[in-house]
Symmetry: C2
Amino acid sequence: MQRACTLLMVLMLALPGAATASGRDDLTQISTIDALMSGVYDGDTTIGSLKDKGDFGLGTFNNLDGEMVLLDGRFYRVTASGSVEEPGPDTGTPFAAVTFFDADRTIPLDKGIDFRQFTAKTDRLLPTPNIFYAVKITGTFETVKARSVARQTSPYRPLEEVVKSQALFDFANVEGTIVGFRCPPFVKGVNVPGYHLHFLTADRKAGGHVLDFRVLKATLEIDYTNTFILVLPSDESFYAADLSPDRDKALKAVEK
Amino acid sequence: MQRACTLLMVLMLALPGAATASGRDDLTQISTIDALMSGVYDGDTTIGSLKDKGDFGLGTFNNLDGEMVLLDGRFYRVTASGSVEEPGPDTGTPFAAVTFFDADRTIPLDKGIDFRQFTAKTDRLLPTPNIFYAVKITGTFETVKARSVARQTSPYRPLEEVVKSQALFDFANVEGTIVGFRCPPFVKGVNVPGYHLHFLTADRKAGGHVLDFRVLKATLEIDYTNTFILVLPSDESFYAADLSPDRDKALKAVEK
C-alpha cells in the first residue's frame, strides 16, 4: 500500500492533466496591466483562490476598489479614504501579482535613499534585468507618498482618467513595509517594467500605491523569480478589451 | 493507509512549495523570442523535461540547430538540410512553447486558403484576440513554403543575420500537419504576436518554419489557452542579453 501510495504521488507530479500549481519561486499574475489601464476593473478571480499562489503581492480589487497589499499571507485593501480593511476570500480582483516571498538577498538601505536612488542602487545589485524580482522593504521611512483610487461604477473610465482624482497620502516618520516587484523590460503591456510598489504601515492602518519614499532606516529583501505564470480572465470585459494600443505613456502617467 | 494516501495527495495538490506543474490548458514557454532574436541560442532546459508540460508545440534547439516540431508527444528536428530527426531527451532548447493539445473547436478549411486568408478567417472565429490559442491544421496542402536554420557556433550572430542564409523548402501536394500558436498582442518581446506555425509532413521526413501555405483539403483545430507559463533560463547568456530594444521590425523580417 505504501508503495502504491508513493507510485500514485509520483504519477500525480508527472500528471499532465493536473491543475497548475505554483512553486514558491513562481510569480502568478491575474490579467494584464493594459487591461486594467483600459478599464477592465472586474475579474473572475477571488482573492481566496490566490492563497495557494502566494503570500506576498499587490494588485487591486473589483470595481477598482482600492490598492491591494498581500503581506504575510493576509490581503489588505487601502481604500480611497485612507482606511485599511481585510476583504473576505470571495472578494474579486481584476489584477493581482503574487508569489511566496523567500528572500534570496538582504541589503540594508542607507538613510536618505529615495525611490529614484533605490531603483538605481538595486538595479546595480541584481544579477540580470531579465528575470522577475519580488522586493520587500521593511523599516522606518522619513516620508512615503502614496495614493489610492476610489471604487468605480460601470461603465468604467480608463485608469489614466480615474487617477486624476486619486487620493494622496503623505506619511512622515512612518514604520511599515513596501511590497512589490521589479519586472523585466519585456513585460511591457503585461505588467509594469521596472519597480511597482505598494505600502502598508506597521500598524496595518494605512498605505497605498507608492509614488515616492525616503528611507530613515530600512532593510531591502529581494526574492529572485524565474517563472512567471500569467492567468488570463475568461470574462467578457477582458475578452472585449482593446489590448493592441501602446499604453506606455499612459502607464507612466498612472504610476507616478 | 488508503486514507493517509488520499490525504497526502490532497496536501500535495494544495502544497505551495510544490514545483510548477502544468495543466492541460497551460501554454509553457522557455525563454523569450527577443532573447532568441538577440542570439541566445543555448538554454539550460532539456526537451525531456518538457514532456510533462505538453505534447504539442514548437521552438528550436541549442546552437539554433533546426526547427522544432512537437506533435503527439514526439519531438522532431527539421534540420537545415531538410531531413528530420528525433533528438534525444537530453537535447537542450533555448526557446520552446508547448501545451497539451485538446481541440476546443474544429473547422474545415476551404481549398485555396493561404496563410493570409487563414489568419483573417481564424481571427474572425475566435472569441477574443486576448488569450493564447494552440492551432493545428491537418490535411493536404497544395503548397507549403517552409524554412530551417543551420546549426550555429558561438559567438552567435543575431537571428536576423542568420536567417539571411536560411534553407528554403517548397512542398507541393503534400500531406502533413501545421503546428503552432496564435498569441495576443501583449506578448510582443516575449513571443510572436499573431500566428507562429511550423510544419511536419505526414511521413515525418520533412517540414520547417512555415512562411506560407495553400490548403487543398484540411481541418483546423483550435485549443483555447488562458494560462501562460513563462520559464526564464538561469544561464549567463540569457542573463546578459540586452532585452530592452524593440525588435519588432527584425522579428517581422525573421518570421516572413
